[in-house]
């Protein structure tokens, strides 16, 4: 019985994950927009401050991280909104499979479409910010790990505001304070790499934050979705 239950859980996870991926890929603008936004924000900084490469490189970790953080924040609306509007989310909550599992599947799909591309794109933008190529892989790694944490934390906020009209600004207000620790250590990883220091302590803290968020967020988001649906 239990093995059969485990089997159906894995299947439900896989179906939700694949379904979300498929839906995202078919809506090109939905996964393209955060990436373009990421590139645009990064472009603004050299134009607003200075194109001087020596100055720019000191700001590069912060600029990349803030821009990626804002891109993740803007993408969060897509996480639950559409499924909420057409009633799919309600069916998911009613299904015998635990809601946290389906929410986790949705988060994973979201990371593949909105978190991982940011990390993959970071070397190109790092090049524009005069970042030396030796720190590219650390930057991408910190963004890949960090964006997963950001999505996990942000999902709680997205779930809470799913029933609120024009919840975008409210979502930013709620979630940005919680993003600050991730930002500090994420940008810290890149800065340490720039200084040529061992980055593992900061990466470990970033990983610890990811582990804590992974343990708590699916459960909290599912609870928040239930609250939004029960009235």
């Amino acid at each position: 019985m239990s093995s059969e239950g485990g089997h159906s859980w894995a299947r439900a996870f896989r179906y939700t994950f694949v379904r979300d991926l498929r839906l995202r890929i078919r809506h090109g603008s939905e996964w393209g927009s955060p990436l373009i936004f990421f590139a645009l924000i990064v472009t603004l900084f050299p134009l607003a401050t200075t194109p001087d490469r020596t100055v720019l490189v000191t700001f590069a970790p912060g600029i990349l991280w803030v821009a990626a953080l804002l891109a993740v924040l803007l993408s969060l609306d897509a996480l639950f909104r559409e499924d909420h509007d057409d009633g799919t989310l309600e069916q998911m909550l009613l299904s015998p499979v635990p809601a946290w599992l389906l929410v986790l599947a949705k988060m994973c799909a979201h990371w593949v479409m909105a978190g991982l591309p940011l990390a993959l794109m970071s070397p190109v933008l790092g090049l524009m910010l005069a970042l030396p190529s030796s720190v590219f892989w650390v930057t991408a790694l910190s963004l890949a790990l960090g964006s997963a944490t950001l999505i996990l934390i942000g999902a709680i906020g997205a779930a809470l505001t799913v029933g609120v009209r024009r919840g975008g600004l409210l979502l930013a207000l709620m979630i940005l304070p919680l993003y600050i620790p991730v930002l500090i250590f994420g940008a810290g990883v890149v800065r340490l790499a720039l200084d040529g220091v061992d980055v593992t302590p900061y990466l470990a803290i970033l990983g610890a934050m990811f582990a804590a968020a992974l343990a708590l967020s699916p459960w909290a988001s599912a609870a928040a979705l239930r609250l939004a649906h029960s009235g």
């Binding site: 709680i156 809470l160 029933g163 609120v164 409210l170 207000l173 709620m174 304070p177 600050i180 009235g231």
Partner: protein
């Protein structure tokens, strides 16, 4: 046990019982705060290093403690409200939030004023200061989230979830001065150790802290009572209460 809790959770019973408690708390706050303030600001000896500027401690420490205690209270209320669906807990969480936000602001502001004579700057990006600033933003987020919902009940539950998530910030604030090497000093007061300052300095501080907690209790209690009346204004006992008061006045 459960009956006792349910009795206390009923707004009507709480309102009746707290009628006598609220004036006491207000009285306690109104005695302790002026005595502590006068003692601390006028009679306590000046610090040998910071001279008179150290007196800001009598405002700074109580407001910072309240800022954190208030958030802890909101988190406890959030659990009670989400798990046992006790509406009174939601009311307390609602009225505590603006008070906590103002105390956080008071702590940040008094700290900035104190920073000028001691550190030579209004603001540094130190771990303690930054985590307090995050606390202020969390308060704002919780208040904004509550009012974003058309239905009071939904807003209350959303705010409860967010305050539970935000509670991770409290230990960070508490230990920020120990985990990171920062400009902000470590705690000068604790339950387990003797205070690191002379009696003439810490007694007024203790009075201010007790007074601040009394004020906290008084404000939350009084505002809870008002909120109970507002939410239950259709209930029979509230109407009876109003007609009674009107009868007495005429």
């Amino acid at each position: 046990m459960w009956q006792w809790i349910h009795k206390w959770a009923s707004p009507k019973h709480f309102y009746r019982v707290s009628t006598r408690g609220a004036p006491w708390l207000w009285g306690l706050a109104l005695i302790l705060l002026p005595v502590g303030a006068l003692w601390g600001l006028a009679f306590a000896p000046a610090d040998y290093q910071q001279h008179d500027s150290f007196r800001i401690i009598y405002v700074h420490v109580p407001s910072a403690m309240l800022a954190e205690s208030c958030f802890a209270l909101m988190a406890v209320c959030a659990v009670v409200f989400l798990v046992w669906k006790i509406k009174l807990a939601d009311i307390v969480a609602k009225v505590a939030a603006p008070f906590g936000a103002s105390m956080t602001f008071a702590a940040l502001f008094s700290g900035a004023v104190w920073g000028i004579p001691t550190w030579g700057t209004w603001w540094v990006w130190d771990a303690r200061l930054t985590s307090m600033l995050i606390l202020l933003f969390l308060y704002f987020g919780i208040i904004a989230l509550r009012y974003a919902f058309a239905r009071e009940h939904s807003g209350g539950r959303a705010a409860a979830v967010l305050s539970l998530v935000g509670v991770v910030n409290l230990p960070i604030i508490k230990y920020s001065v120990e985990w990171w090497n920062t400009l902000h000093q470590t705690a000068s007061f604790s339950l387990t150790k003797a205070p690191s300052m002379p009696e003439s300095m810490w007694v007024p501080l203790l009075l201010m802290m007790l007074g601040a907690y009394a004020l906290f209790g008084a404000v939350v209690l009084s505002r809870t009572r008002n909120e109970i009346l507002r939410r239950e204004h259709r209930a029979r006992w509230v109407r009876a209460l109003i007609t009674d008061t009107c009868d007495k006045e005429h």
